[in-house]
């Protein structure tokens, strides 16, 4: 049984083996260290000319990757912590995302930017954030997040073969999570349905049950959502279904709307802060599409992510806070 880290690492090995135009660049990614979270381990040994260790220059790392992408290479750039994406924001928003459209489809930018996001490891305010929400809705750029239900390596391969820029957001705690297997372990009671896109979305439900609540989420939050819906069932006999997104942006919510037609209750879960988050956009679109919805967003409280475990736990969404939100929503 594979863990997310292995899935991502082996995908990079596979892609680099099969496509000589794929280059990997980032800070401290050379072996033996192999990258801060080890996702790039082994690559510099096997593909010595195509793994570039860079100075600490987040803006130029993405800028250089943009130039490489414009001129026939397929760069996979790593930004060591997602918190540092703000340093690269200009190159993402004003260059990578814009070149193709503003140049009237004369060019392509097949760029992938991989970055670990998220807290719960006590790294403190500038190394624990979930900043992906800042890049949602940027025209010309996709935002994608792996999870344990899909195949993270395959998702990364799709991102690398995408002709347009993809921001690939990996939650730090996901790296050591096991990939789920159909009909086994955690998934034993569920059926799930996959939507057929390149970056698949899933709905996870109890077969032959009428759900009362739809939970929409992505990434690591799925690990928190699963025990919550089990708890809702066991303690309250409330059936909930989870709509799990790999593609965060552009927003493709058909699978979610199908579920909402049945439940009319939507709860979103994300680890970033509430305002202008992923959930805010999902809720806005759901309410535009479907009448008589009750909605609730679960997100981090309005504080930086504190270092002390006690504070971090209080600030970030927990099974407890998700449970409370779900019950409040169902009682409406």
């Amino acid at each position: 049984m594979s863990i997310v880290l292995e899935s991502l690492n082996s995908a990079l090995h596979r892609v680099m083996e099969n496509d000589a135009s794929v280059y990997v660049l980032g800070e401290d990614i050379l072996d033996p260290y192999g990258g801060a979270f080890k996702v790039t381990r082994g690559l510099s040994t096997k593909f010595p000319g195509r793994v570039l260790t860079t100075p600490i220059s987040e803006a130029a790392i993405i800028g250089v990757a943009n130039g490489m992408a414009l001129r026939g290479l397929r760069p996979v750039a790593e930004i060591m912590f997602g918190d540092f994406l703000t340093l690269s924001a200009d190159q993402l928003v004003n260059h990578a995302a814009k070149f193709r459209w503003m140049y009237n489809n004369n060019v392509h930018v097949p760029l992938v930017v991989r970055t670990p996001m998220g807290g719960r490891r006590g790294y403190g305010p500038t190394h624990s954030q979930s900043l992906e929400k800042m890049f949602l809705g940027t025209p010309g750029m996709k935002v994608v997040a792996p999870n344990t239900l899909g195949n993270p390596g395959q998702l990364l391969e799709e991102a690398i073969s995408d002709e347009d820029p993809v921001l690939f957001v990996e939650h730090k705690l996901l790296y050591t999570c096991r990939l789920l297997e159909s009909g086994k372990g955690d998934l034993i009671d569920y059926e799930y349905e996959q939507s057929g896109q390149t970056y698949p979305n899933y709905v996870l439900r109890y077969p032959d049950r009428i759900p009362q609540l739809t939970i929409a989420t992505y990434g690591y939050n799925f690990e928190l959502a699963r025990p919550v819906i089990l708890n809702l069932l066991m303690e309250y006999e409330i059936f909930a279904e989870i709509v799990l997104f790999s593609q965060l942006s552009p927003f493709d919510l058909d699978l979610l709307f199908d579920s909402l037609q049945r439940t009319r209750r939507l709860m979103t879960i994300e680890e970033g802060t509430l305002a202008n988050g992923w959930g805010a956009e999902v809720v806005a679109r759901a309410v535009e599409a479907i009448n008589r919805l009750w909605v609730r967003r679960v997100a981090a409280l309005d504080f930086p992510v504190a270092n002390s475990r006690a504070l971090e736990d209080a600030i970030l969404p927990s099974q407890k806070s998700i449970m409370e939100a779900a019950l409040a929503l169902v009682k409406k």
Binding site: Y23, G49, L52, T54, P55, S57, A59, A60, I62, G63, V64, A65, N66, G67, M68, A69, L70, R71, G72, L73, P75, D90, Q91, N94, H95, K98, F99, W101, M102, Y103, N104, N105, N106, V107
Partner: protein
């Protein structure tokens, strides 16, 4: 038969004069169209700096990669771009270089690119040079910056990488002494050249608007970078005769009069005959008139929601 403009890449006096004249008359026409209310938005004209573009592109290779900036028209025309397609783009027509989507600052044609973020083009150009090097194409990548660009941090990140990885990038710094309304004395500390030599990057520098002097020094810089040894920088101190864009020029009339003596057309004119001069004037007039007339008649684009 439609008029087609071709730049012959020849290091001769007439061709250089005509290139500079084309840029001058095109940009002057642009300002007229703005004043007449036929063009909206903004633009950054290259008037006064023509020797740089004409000189550089007379010694570059036609296949070299170019990343220009907001003040890109002169570079584009000297590169061999069609005046008509540029005029159409400036007018927002569907026949424009990028279908009206980019306008003055954001154009793309063959290996020519431009964008409107100061400094933002330099890391991109650095990455392009990296790609050209790994693919062994032999192309040099040019990145055009100004004195104002020296304020952007990402420039220095890029210089570091270009030097570390020995990339075939030639950065051309056109110092026209003003970043919008800010003179260099208020914007640039220390030496311009020092910034590049700090990374071990060789600098070719000249204070001139004489196109033959630009040709000579550009030739040296290109030779070095094309050899594959590493990046190089060409600093050309020049003069901007018009405003930064529209209405943003706080210079006094005395200064504007004084710098006109450095007009590259005036400096180069003695090297062509009177007949060549009037021929060039007539041909350029026809080219510019034709470009804007055709562009004026073209349709506007529609928005395809699908993409």
């Amino acid at each position: 038969m439609p008029l087609r403009y071709n730049v012959t890449v020849m290091d001769n006096n007439y061709a250089l004069y005509k290139t500079m004249l084309l840029i001058r008359r095109f940009e002057e026409r642009l300002l007229v169209e703005f004043s007449a209310g036929n063009l909206v938005g903004t633009t950054h004209v290259y008037i006064g700096e023509e020797a740089d573009a004409a000189g550089i592109f007379s010694v570059s290779d036609p296949n070299d990669v170019v990343f220009s900036n907001h003040r890109c028209h002169g570079h584009f025309l000297a590169y061999g771009g069609e005046p008509y397609r540029l005029a159409a783009e400036l007018m927002g027509k569907s026949t424009g270089l990028v279908g009206g989507r980019g306008g003055s600052q954001h154009i793309q044609w063959r290996n020519f690119y431009s964008n409107g973020i100061q400094g933002g083009i330099v890391p991109v150009a650095t990455g392009m040079a990296l790609a050209e090097k790994t693919r062994q194409t032999g192309k040099v990548t040019l990145a055009f910056i100004g004195d104002g660009t020296l304020g952007e941090g990402v420039l220095y990140e890029s210089l570091n990488m270009a030097a570390l990885w020995k990339l075939p990038i030639l950065i051309v710094l056109e110092d026209n002494r003003y970043a919008q309304t800010t003179p260099v004395e208020k914007g640039v500390a220390g030496l311009m050249s020092g910034r590049f030599s700090a990374f071990g990057i060789p600098v070719w520098e000249r204070d001139t608007t004489d196109v033959l002097e630009v040709c000579a020094i550009a030739k040296e810089a290109f030779h070095y970078v094309r050899s594959g040894v590493g990046p190089g920088v060409l600093i050309l101190h020049t003069y901007r005769f018009s405003a930064h864009s529209k209405g943003d020029d706080s210079r006094l009339p005395e200064e504007l009069t004084r710098i006109r003596t450095f007009d590259p057309l005036i400096l180069h004119k003695p090297r062509v005959t009177a007949e060549e001069c009037s021929n060039a004037e007539a041909e350029v007039l026809t080219i510019v008139e034709d470009a804007f007339k055709r562009a004026e008649a073209d349709p506007y684009p529609g928005l395809s929601v699908k993409e």
